[in-house]
Amino acid sequence: MTPQLSRRDLFKLSAAGILGTSVSGWFNVLASRAAETQARHKSCILLWMDGGPSHKDTFDLRPGTDQGGPFQAIQTSVNGIRISEHFPRFARQMQHAAIIRSMSTGEGAHGRAKYYLHTGYKEGVGGLNYPSLGSIAAMEIGNPQNPLPNYVSIGNRSYGSGFLGPRHQPLNVVSAARGVENLRPLVAQQQFQNRVGLLEELEQSFHRTHEAGTSLSHRTTYQRAVTLMQDRGARAFDLSTEPSASRAAYGTGAFADGCLLARRLIETGVTFVEVTLGGWDTHQNNFNRVRTLSGQVDPAMSALISDLRQRGLLDTTLVIWMGEFGRTPRINNRGAQPGRDHYPRAWSSVLAGGGIRGGQVIGRTDAEAATVAERPVTTLDFMATVCRILGIDHTKMNQTPIGRPVRIVDRGANPITQLA
């Protein structure tokens, strides 16, 4: 199967199929789509820790050492794996997760590192704008018939589809509590249907006389947007319909709401959801800030994992916890409440679910958590690993608009094999 071609053709066909139908055609597609059953592909939730979390104060601790900081390591559900005391709930789910303690990625400036860890390519290289993991997943394993976009980014504009084009752009949700911007019509439902009817007439008449690809895709884009507005699945965006008990487990705040929304979207068939938690750039006051941030992550991430599990979705949904780099193993001397600075050389990320073999630690750092002592995981290795777990062939070539072939993950990747 060549997914790119067949999906694109399908897309064109479905758009063309609508050309002949009546004015209300845009509304009718919904019913037929709801009836379809789709084989379930894997999905992914990226919990993006913006700013670069300190590995030494989260998942790779050195308690009691000179530069170890004040946090204690606690026992997890897996014998021998210890993590920060500020992740007590997640510690009980360690059997579903793997910690990679040997990330080593080479980019130490926020902008460039975020770009690199989202796309697998260094910013500006080759004069191309590369697609992010979310867009790649949406294109490769997303259901093209899904009325909801297959890539949703919550709390952050994130990184887009680059040369893959507008169809795989993320739908950005600024605030999970407020939902998708401009999703509701400005007028009552009946009047909105009238308007869409008028629009469809104009579109048909323009396309009949011009027969241009541009007008066809203009029309298809609007049709998809209207479909989303009318779709039952779009109710997933409305958190007020969630029972208060299950909502409470996530904790409070934007990140908790984001994780809850992520679960609801995955349930409706969205392929990739990114949820951002900012504030990890702890040059100062590192320990208080990491404690607070961990306190937001712990309930939300563990509620997410147990909800997915309860719904039978954990095996098909990979949850990634990561930032753009780690932080210096040494504590800096910035004032009374010092912090740690940017550190891409050795740091940690966490994977859970997605059918991986949990309860593992991949790689190891040295006594100070300063250099990788075992199994360095580069950005390419990491991207290829995620692709493997999601069932994406990371060696596949995609085409840029001028027909230049670009691999999903560049040459030189050595994916982690003991997770499968």
Binding site: G127, L128, R167, F206, H218, T221, R224
Partner: protein
Amino acid sequence: MATQLRGMVVALGLLATAPWMMGNGQAQSAKNAPKLDAAELAKVIDREIQARLNEEGLKPSRLSDDGEFLRRVYLDLVGVIPPSEKVIAFLDSSDPNKRAKLIDELLDHPRFGTYLGEMWAGMLLPRESNNRRLNHKPMQTWLADAFKNNKPLDKTVYDLLTATGTQEANGAATYFILNPTADKLTDNVTQMFLGVRLQCAQCHNHPFVAIKQNEYWGMAAFFTKTRLSANPKQAAKQGAQVSVFEGAAPPKGKKKSNLPQGAKIVPARFLQGEQPKLDPGEPYRPVLAKWITSPSNPFFAKAMVNRAWYQLFGRGIVNPVDDMHEGNFPSHPELLKQLTEQFKANGFDLKYLYRAICNSQAYQRTSRPVGDNKGDKEFYSHAAVRGLSPEQLYDSLTAVVGNPGREFSKGPKNNFRKGPASPRDAFLNFFRIEEGANPLEYQSGIPQALRLMNSPQLTGAAALNRILNETKEPAQVLEKLFVATLSRRPTTQETQRYTEYVGRQADLRTGFSDILWAVLNSSEFGLNH
């Protein structure tokens, strides 16, 4: 398929002699080529286009009607749809020269410079994480002045490439502040001014062109003396100005800070040309600038002509527009040659070039296909239907519905900003199009469509009120509404259909607000056709 094959044969036939392929200096125009005025050049365009259509057995579509032409030429030359009074005056004028006159008028329109300046600044300053919060505006203003005053393009580019000083004193310095390394400058200069994508040669020899990795770093070497007085981001945060200057030559074999990791240290050499003698005591950039903007440069004039053509047609005579090399044949080699010669003979006069192209029948054809020419995308049998740029869309929308809000109160105090400076910037950011994206493809997605359909700022209630204050006669309201948005009068069927629709609604305002909504979201409004 047959068409493609024939194109290949034609192109191959030219292989041995095509002047656009020749090396340094040889592509100079024959001395005896007569200098043509814009009207004469327009005829050359039509002759060449027609010859190729005949060869392909394609029938051209008829000329555009007045409204269609008016809207297109407004969008292409000043970046916005025409105002209602202009539409009425143009549609009702019986002057046989009204199209040529309108082209002249728009080339002198105050927006011509600002529109082109903003477009060029966008191409010259690719957005990256390191520069997206820096101040782009001085570059736009500097370019806008040059375009408005029709400064010869060779002079503009020379002044740009040799710019020094602060953004405040010299807007062109922005180019070096926002592209702070030798590799970024090399990428952009070769892509923009030589029409060649050199980026892949940064890391390896070019896959299909005879450009070796060393040639990339040979070009980059011209920028190794370019220095900034401070880190732009830090300086901007402190409200300080950064100054661009030419520093000392890097010591032999030694890497300098503005070259990236993995750079090759080679002597400066013109692309596929000679290795000039450089005086280590003198700046390097003027040497490069002089070579690029010389009439004998084999790339520059051709690349500029191809870019102007691309802007007006949505595709280059060599396409993609910045991928000119031996393996990428022009669709109309003789036309490209003549345009290039005349552009040089007329002193790199950009308005002259625009004037000639816009006066051609090829440009003025309708975008409606006829017979079997609808599949044609490269022979100009009919005008292309192109997506609007975010700037064109915003300016056209607000020309109808009014400005959605005042400028944000916290404007950029210095050269570093957090968040968008204005509703327009926010819109442009939201609708940003991937660099190098094909204008013949619609580039917006679902979030953008949702914004256009459901944003309370874009309802156009004020515009509708204005019209309803003038008249309440449904056919007249409809006409005013169409003229203001689609730059044409409604057809008889449309008048009948939509006045009927309005009659069925609760009141006039509801009915017409529905029609205005549909029109503003339609292909006919959202595309350049």
